[in-house]
Structure formats: structure tokens, C-alpha cells
């Protein structure tokens, strides 16, 4: 901001100004000196104006105006004072006009940069000078001009007048050339040539300053800037970038193109900061985005697939950044492609190792976690956690996790939750490796991530409960802390009801310990000669079935059993019944018959195995029939138990290789039994049994689901009284969806059952409506 008064040393012939007073004051007398001063200011601004000269001019104007005030009897407009003001204004105006003509004559001979230079220099000088001039004529500004403009006449304060004259006499005439010069500069800069940005900035500011509001000259509008510069600028921008993008994309890779676009967009931002009016910013950027990105969006979309496949992170980031700018519709095709890609990748990853994964829960889950992890990272790194992309990832994961090569091999859509639960079991069991607790916790967290995608959550829960029960019974849990942690995780995912059931199992374990301690201290304990433990479990809380076979307990064990029964019945006054689950019982047998080990082996075996082996205390050879007679085991259990004893080489069978064991097969103890360890675990599961178990569990789940569906249906119908078929179906599905996705055919079967049992009925005359039967 330039000072409005110029003070400087040094003389000039202006010191010879005369202060005029009184009757000397006519315009003819006053003007020549004044005009000199004005010219001086306009043309030799740098030389400055002395205080004295300034004061003289100012006072002369003042005196002139005041001495020609309207007379005492003057009323209203045309009077001497007015006339004087008008004359002075006119004089000044024509002076400026003349000056402007001179400037224009020079400007007419200039083009391009030299025109710009000239314009800027002249403008700066002119406007600075005119501020001072306006101050000199301050009295005129404040009185005559003010009055006239309030009356609606077209007069301006002196500074504004100067701008009007500049505009009308100079700018309007040369503006095409001027604008063209500006635009050429800008284009040069876009072509990477250096330009004088302050020059451009200065000239553009001049445009802005010329935007005078006709009605309120003090206010600035952007009219001139817009009409005479911005419009054409936008037009040229469009042409420039349309051409550049089309040719660039033909000759370069999409990856390079995207980088170029980002660079150009940044450039334009800078341009706005450096010399354009801020107002232009948003529309300029939007226009560029439209030309550079939107018009080529299909090219970008077509490239996306290969970027995904080749995992080109930087390019993916570029593409996301660019397409995000043009709104949701720019990103939608990407979301679909990502979804399909993830689903594909997941499916292929599992398929490549399907045979393995089917049998190894760890492999299966690790494959899933890898794919999921890979794309979760991508989601964060390339797509900035965009919720739409996140949803696409979730959809894809949901699909490939629940329906893939492994589930097809198993011919069961519920294989995934089964394998997931089995992997949990592996992690929570004691193992040879003994990894860090923290490591295991991390994997468990990952498992819960996969769990969220599982559709048949109830299958997972059923398997988990069963395996937890086994871990507790067999004491194979690796850490109570981990078990507890897992329960917390399940609580937040499965709800309170499910985890309290699990909690009760833990409770029973400690209650059992207390009961056994009590038993040991009691007199009943003396009756038994064998060391034994009992786990007393509440029937309703444990997912354990009754044994599928009878069993004739060996005599030695019978004592223990009776002793405990007596103790327990006494304790509870005969109000409770104990069902012995022999199929889970196990024990240790000390042997003395082997030739290979002097001190004999200790067999860790199941109670059924014990029942069979103890028979050999009396006989050397036994056939299957005899064994069955003695043990009372059913065919399938007997077969599995004998097989396990054969596999572990404890028993020998004659004939050796037989597909099925018949009643005639003969068995002997293997005297040559050998093992590195003194204590040998012979209680190994037989494969068939394991598969049967799995199927049994799936059947349990199915039955359970039927009950759930029926319960839900009755609840809904009781509340709503009558309901249309379609609405009932969707209500049932939504009530159950956190546990499993019920199949339509299963729901319909349940509805049939409920109609037959008369819980609900069809409404007469409305074949698709049901009513609750109270």
C-alpha cells in the first residue's frame, strides 16, 4: 500500500507553486499549475511530490470550491458552487482522457509480453498516482461529487473516475490483445516454459480491479475478470487438456497417464495460488478433473483388473485418488471388479490346496487368512478404507469362505465352520510345539475375523462346544487363560446365552474336583483298591450323548463305581441319578507280559480297551465272539476298539489282514510289543469313528435348527396373530440370521409340522395367510 501523501526531499520547479486566494481563484488561473502537478505525478511518479506542492494544490482546490459555494439565497441545484465543481470535474476528466489516449497510442504498437509489461507498469504507476490525485481533490470528492452522485448523477469520486477512464479509453480497446497475451503466457507455462508469474499476476489483478459495480462504485465485482479473462481462460484450458490427454493416453501407459494427470492437477492448483483469482479455483479444478479423468474413466476402469492381478500398489493408489474425484459413479465399477477379484483369488487359493485343506483345519484357515489379510491391507493402503470397497471385500469373503472347493469336496456347505472350530481346538490343545500365548491369541483374533463371515454360525458353536467338552474331560487344554480369552471373544460375537453354557462347563469342572476331594476323604473311598477320578457333569450343560453301547465293567473297576455311587447317593439323598459315560473314560494298565521290557509297559487306554485287555488275564486266546460276550460291547464299538488295539500292536489278530472282523477272528496279546516309551498311549481314535462323529454333529445341528425355526415361527405368529406367507418367511429369516441362514425348504417343512400339530392354521379363503391357534 502506497502512502497517500508523498514526502520527499529535493526540489523541483513545483516549488514555485502559488497559493491562490480569494477573488484570484478562477479555474483558468488555477488549472495550469494544477495540471502541471497532475502531469508530474502521472509521468514522473518516482520523483515524488514535495510537501509544499502537495499542500498548495490541495488548498487551492479547497479554496476554489469553497469560494464558489452556492449563495445564501440559492436553493437546490444549479448555482455558482455547483457549477464550479462541475467545471473542475470536467477539466480533470478531459485531462485524464487525454492522458489515456497517449498511453493507448503506445500500447497499440505492442503485443505479447511487451504489451503485458507495458500495461502493468502503466497500471501500477497510474493507480498509485491517482490515489494521490484523489486526495488532492478530496474536498471535491466529499462535497460536490458526493452530492451529485447521491442525486443519481453519473459522477464518481476521483479515484474511481480514473479507473473508469482507464477502462473505457484503454482497456476496452486493447483487451483482446491483452487477454490473448495472458493466455499465451499460461500456455507456455503449461508447456513447461518459464514465465514471469508476477507479471501475469499483476495484470490479472488489474482485471479484477476494473470490475466496478455500476451502482456502487466502491464495490468490486469480478465481472471484468470473468467476462474478459476467465471465460476464455477456461475455454483454452479445456482445449489444451483435451488434446493433451487424448494424445498422451495413446502413446503412454495408463500408469504414466495417471501420474501425469495428478501432476497436472497439482499444477493447476498452484496456478490458482500464484496468479489466478481464488474464485476460479474450484471450477477450474473440476473442469480439469472432468477432462482428464471423467472423459477417460473407461480406459482407467479397463486397466484396474490387471493392476489388481499384478498387485501394483502405487498405480492402484493413483487410480483410486483420481476416480474418487469424479464421485461415486467413478468408483462403482472398481468396487465390483474388486469383489469379483477377491472372490476369485480366494476360491483359487483354496482350490489349489483343496485336498490338503480338507483334512487340515490349520491349512484351510491359514489360506483364508492370507487372502483376507492381503486384501485388507490393500483396502487400507490403496483404497483408504473406503466403506464401499470394504463392503465389496466383505461380500467377496463371505462368498468364498462359505462356498469353495473344500466345501464342495465335503459336499457340505457347513464344512467351513467345522474346520474353523477344529482349528480352534488344535490351538487350544496342549501341543508339542508350545508356541507363545501371545501368538495364539493373535491367531484366535484372526479366527474371529473369519467367523464373522461364516453363515452357519450354529455349526461352529456346536462343534466348538463339543470340542471344548472333550478338552475339559480329557484335560488336554493348554492354558486356562487362553480358554477364558476365547470365551470372551465368543461372547462379543455370539451373544451371552451361548457363552454362559460354556461357562457352566468350566464350573462343573471345579465342582467335580470338590466332590472328588470330599469322596477321597470319606469312608467310601476305602472300598476301592484302584486309584480313580470321577468327573460329575450336569446333564443339561454338556453336549455329551449317552453311550451307544452297553458295557460290562471289569470287576476291578466295579468296586470304584459302586463306592462312588453310594457316596454320591448318600450326599444327595438319592435325589440324583448318575449316568456313566464310559465312552469317555480312560485309565492306565500296568503290563507284565511283554518280552521286550523287563519292567513292563504302562498302557494309557480307554476303558473299553481295558475291558478287552483285562480278559487276557484269564485267557491267552480269545475270539471276537467271546470278547463280545464278556464285554457286552456292540458290534461297531467292539470293532473300533479291537482295531485300535491292533493298530497299536497291542493285540495280534488271526487271520491277519481282514476287511471286516468276524466272530471267528482270534486275538492274542502281542508279546513282542515294543515302544520307546515306558508309558504308551494306545487310546487312538479310529478314522471311521471320527467321520461318523462329524456327520452326527451335522445331524444334531439340523435337528436343532428345525426346533429353532419352529420356536421362532410360533413366537412370531403368537405376536402377530395373522401373517402372510411372504412376511412370515422374512421375519423368520431375520430372527435367525445371526445364528444361521435357514433354507426356504426347511422353513416350509417346519410350517407344515406346525400346521399338523395345530399351532398355526391357514386362514379360510386366504390361501397364503396363516393364523395363530390359541
Amino acid at each position: 500500500v502506497l502512502p497517500t501523501k508523498l514526502y520527499c526531499r529535493g526540489g523541483s520547479n513545483l516549488d514555485k507553486t502559488h497559493l491562490m486566494l480569494g477573488r484570484q481563484l478562477t479555474l483558468e488561473k488555477l488549472w495550469p499549475e494544477l495540471e502541471e502537478g497532475l502531469t508530474h505525478l502521472l509521468t514522473r511518479l518516482t520523483e515524488g511530490l514535495s510537501n509544499r506542492a502537495y499542500m498548495t494544490y490541495y488548498t487551492n482546490v479547497y479554496n476554489f470550491c469553497t469560494n464558489n459555494r452556492p449563495g445564501a439565497n440559492a436553493r437546490g441545484k444549479s448555482s455558482g458552487g455547483n457549477f464550479a465543481g462541475e467545471k473542475m470535474y470536467e477539466k480533470l476528466r478531459s485531462f485524464l482522457q487525454n492522458y489515456m489516449v497517449g498511453v493507448r497510442e503506445i500500447a497499440d504498437h505492442r503485443v505479447d509480453d511487451s504489451l503485458l509489461n507495458f500495461y502493468k507498469v502503466e497500471w501500477d504507476r497510474y493507480t498509485t498516482a491517482m490515489k494521490t490525485v484523489s486526495n488532492i481533490f478530496e474536498y471535491l470528492n466529499r462535497h460536490w461529487i458526493k452530492r451529485e452522485s447521491e442525486d443519481g448523477k453519473q459522477v464518481y469520486d476521483i479515484y474511481t473516475l480514473s479507473l473508469v477512464i482507464w477502462r473505457d479509453e484503454l482497456f476496452e480497446r486493447i483487451k483482446p490483445k491483452l487477454t490473448e497475451a495472458l493466455l499465451e503466457c499460461i500456455e507456455k507455462e503449461r508447456d513447461s516454459e518459464q514465465i514471469d508469474t508476477s507479471l501475469v499476476s499483476g495484470v490479472i489483478n488489474a482485471y479484477v480491479s476494473l470490475g466496478l459495480n455500476k451502482d456502487k462504485p466502491q464495490e468490486n465485482t469480478l465481472m471484468v475478470y470473468r467476462t474478459d479473462f476467465e471465460d476464455e481462460f477456461m475455454h483454452r484450458t479445456e482445449i489444451y487438456y483435451t488434446q493433451e490427454s487424448t494424445s498422451y493416453i495413446q502413446n503412454n501407459s495408463v500408469s504414466d497417464y495417471m501420474k501425469k494427470v495428478l501432476q497436472r492437477l497439482q499444477e493447476e492448483e498452484n496456478r490458482v495460488q500464484t496468479y489466478l483469482h481464488p474464485d476460479t479455483g474450484p471450477s477450474l479444478i473440476r473442469r480439469c478433473e472432468s477432462i482428464l479423468v471423467e472423459k477417460h474413466k473407461e480406459t482407467l476402469w479397463n486397466e484396474f483388473q490387471s493392476l489388481l492381478q499384478d498387485d501394483m500398489l502405487d498405480d492402484l493408489i493413483c487410480m483410486y485418488t483420481l476416480l474418487e474425484k469424479i464421485g461415486a459413479e467413478g468408483l462403482d465399477p472398481l468396487k465390483d471388479m474388486l469383489e469379483r477379484h477377491v472372490q476369485n483369488m480366494g476360491g483359487i487359493a483354496i482350490q489349489n490346496d483343496a485336498e490338503n485343506a480338507l483334512d487340515s483345519p490349520r491349512t484351510y484357515v491359514e489360506i483364508i487368512l492370507e487372502v483376507h489379510g492381503q486384501f485388507s491391507d490393500l483396502l487400507v493402503n490403496a483404497f483408504r478404507n473406503d466403506p464401499g470397497f470394504s463392503a465389496a471385500l466383505d461380500k467377496a469373503c463371505r462368498r468364498f469362505i462359505n462356498d469353495n472347493a473344500v466345501t464342495k469336496l465335503a459336499r457340505s456347505s457347513s464344512k467351513s465352520p467345522e474346520l474353523l472350530a477344529k482349528y480352534c481346538d488344535i490351538l487350544l490343545k496342549k501341543s508339542a510345539q508350545n508356541p507363545e500365548e501371545k501368538e495364539i491369541l493373535d491367531v484366535l483374533d484372526n479366527i474371529m475375523t473369519v467367523f464373522k463371515y461364516i453363515e452357519d454360525k450354529d455349526v461352529f458353536q456346536t462343534f466348538y462346544s463339543k470340542m471344548l467338552a472333550k478338552r475339559l474331560i480329557y484335560g488336554t487344554s493348554s492354558s486356562e487363560y487362553l480358554e477364558g480369552q476365547m470365551i470372551s471373544k465368543l461372547k462379543s460375537n455370539c451373544g451371552y446365552e451361548y457363552t454362559t453354557k460354556l461357562g457352566r462347563m468350566f464350573n462343573d469342572m471345579s465342582l467335580s474336583r470338590d466332590i472328588v476331594a470330599e469322596f477321597v476323604d470319606s469312608p467310601y473311598a476305602n472300598a476301592s483298591s484302584v486309584d480313580f477320578q470321577v468327573l460329575v457333569l450336569a446333564t443339561g450343560s454338556w453336549p455329551l450323548q449317552q453311550p451307544i453301547t452297553n458295557f460290562s465293567i471289569p470287576e476291578d473297576l466295579q468296586q470304584c463305581q459302586s463306592a462312588f455311587m453310594e457316596f454320591y447317593q448318600k450326599k444327595h439323598d438319592g435325589s440324583r441319578t448318575l449316568n456313566w459315560l464310559m465312552q469317555f473314560s480312560k485309565g492306565e494298565l500296568k503290563t507284565k507280559y511283554t518280552k521286550t521290557n523287563k519292567s513292563g509297559y504302562i498302557f494309557q487306554c480307554s476303558t473299553y480297551q481295558m475291558g478287552i485287555l483285562l480278559l487276557f488275564n484269564e485267557e491267552n486266546i480269545l475270539n471276537a465272539e467271546a470278547i463280545q460276550q464278556a464285554t457286552q460291547l456292540t458290534d461297531s464299538v467292539l470293532r473300533n476298539t479291537l482295531l485300535s488295539l491292533i493298530k497299536t500292536r497291542v493285540l495280534l489278530m488271526a487271520p491277519k489282514n481282514a476287511r471286516t472282523i468276524t466272530k471267528k477272528h482270534r486275538f492274542t496279546l502281542n508279546p513282542k510289543f515294543k515302544n520307546k516309551r515306558a508309558k504308551v498311549l494306545i487310546n487312538i481314535p479310529v478314522r471311521e469313528a471320527v467321520n461318523e462323529q462329524s456327520k452326527a454333529i451335522h445331524d444334531t445341528v439340523l435337528e436343532d435348527r428345525k426346533l429353532q425355526i419352529q420356536a421362532a415361527t410360533v413366537r412370531i405368529m403368537k405376536a402377530r396373530r395373522t401373517l402372510r406367507h411372504g412376511v412370515l418367511m422374512s421375519e423368520i429369516i431375520s430372527q435367525l440370521q445371526t445364528r444361521f441362514t435357514p433354507k426356504i425348504s426347511l422353513i416350509k417343512k417346519c410350517i407344515d409340522i406346525l400346521i399338523e400339530k395345530e399351532y398355526i392354521e391357514r386362514v379360510e379363503g386366504q390361501k397364503d395367510q396363516y393364523a395363530y391357534v390359541a
Binding site: 411372504g726 418367511m729 390361501k767
Partner: protein, 212 residues
């Protein structure tokens, strides 16, 4: 054959409760003619009855008469059922019975849906039984839905399929609905509607059978 009491069901014609000129004693006499010593008309009595009226025992009219009488069990009319029923019908002689036969035939058309439903309940023999066997079902379907769109196919389906051994009331009623509303080409059948699973399976069977 012991008769067991069963739940009452709705069936029979609700029209005509105004008493016509019928003689209660005549009706009773007619009853005794066929019931003999018992307090019900059994299968033998019915045969005689059909003879007198000139009806084939397999004739649908017999079923219609049972329906009017609200007979609880096939081949038996209790005294109450017979007397009350005939009073409502305004019949007190064999002659009047014979005259009514065309009207009964018309009933078989006008009230087919109700009679069809009735056929189920009156075929049930044991208390607490909620189904009828296929042979009975098929014979009634052939009788009452002779020209039905899917009649033959359904009877075939019942014989061929293995998931069901009997048919329950809902399935029975819905079959009637299906037979009378769903066209030959199954174009107006929607599996997402409230059909029982047996009907859905029947539709699948049809689709398989008539694939081309």
C-alpha cells in the same frame, strides 16, 4: 368292528333348516329298516339301502348323502345322524330319496370343495389319527376330481415318491387348491408361496416329467 368317537368336524349343507312336512316316525321306521337291531346303519345296512334307492355303492351320491348327514365315519350312520339329517333334507321315504338324487348330484358339483374336505375326515378310522393312507386318498381323488388338471399325475406321484407314506389334512386341502387353480404348464405356480412341501415336491415332479 368297534366304533370310536371322534372329534366333530364341519361338513354338510347348512341350508334348509325350516321344517318341511316330514314325519319323524316315518324316518325312524326307515332307519330301523336298515339298522336292524343296532342303533346304527352299518355296511350291510348301507348295501341294502343302496339297493332300495337304486344306487351303486361306489356312487358319489352316497358320499354326498353322508356329507349332508354329517356322518362321522364312512359306512356308518348313527340314528342321530340319520334322523336329524333326513329331517333337514325333508326326506321321509324311499320315494323322496329317489327324487332327491339329481339334487345330490348337483351338490357334488356346487359344494365340491367342502365335500372334498369332508372326504378326508370321514375316512379317518382311529381317534387322534391325522392322516389317511394313499389308497384311500387316491380313490377319493379319482372320484371327486375325475377331470382335474393334475389328478392323474398326482396319483402317480403319490405311488412313486418315497418321502411320504400318508397324507395329512393340510396337504389334502392344498392339493384341491392346487388342482383347481394351477394350470397345466405350472405358469401360475410359485414355489415361494405358501404351499406345503409335498405340493412343492409334486410341482418339481411335474416339471421333471414334462421337461419339454
Amino acid at each position: 368292528m368297534a366304533r370310536t368317537k371322534k372329534r366333530k368336524h364341519s361338513g354338510g349343507d347348512k341350508r334348509d333348516s325350516k321344517k318341511r312336512r316330514v314325519s319323524g316316525s316315518k324316518i325312524l321306521k326307515m332307519f330301523k329298516q336298515f339298522a336292524g337291531e343296532e342303533d346304527y346303519i352299518g355296511p350291510e345296512g348301507l348295501l341294502k339301502f343302496c339297493d332300495e334307492i337304486g344306487l351303486d355303492p361306489e356312487d358319489i351320491v352316497l358320499l354326498v348323502i353322508s356329507w349332508h348327514l354329517k356322518a362321522e365315519q364312512a359306512l356308518y350312520f348313527t340314528q342321530e345322524e340319520f334322523v336329524e339329517g333326513l329331517q333337514k333334507l325333508g326326506i321321509d321315504s324311499i320315494k323322496k330319496f329317489k327324487k332327491k338324487i339329481p339334487a345330490f348330484r348337483k351338490d357334488a358339483v356346487d359344494h365340491l370343495s367342502s365335500i372334498f374336505e369332508y372326504a378326508f375326515t370321514f375316512s379317518i378310522e382311529e381317534q387322534n389319527q391325522h392322516y389317511i393312507d394313499f389308497d384311500t386318498a387316491i380313490s377319493y381323488i379319482q372320484l371327486l376330481q375325475k377331470n382335474g388338471t393334475h389328478t392323474n399325475d398326482f396319483c402317480e406321484f403319490l405311488k412313486k415318491q418315497t418321502s411320504y407314506k400318508v397324507i395329512n389334512k393340510d396337504q389334502w386341502k392344498m392339493f384341491y387348491e392346487f388342482n383347481n387353480t394351477v394350470s397345466n404348464d405350472l405358469s401360475d405356480y410359485d414355489e415361494n408361496e405358501a404351499w406345503p412341501v409335498m405340493i412343492d415336491e409334486f410341482a418339481e415332479y411335474l416339471q421333471e416329467k414334462y421337461k419339454d
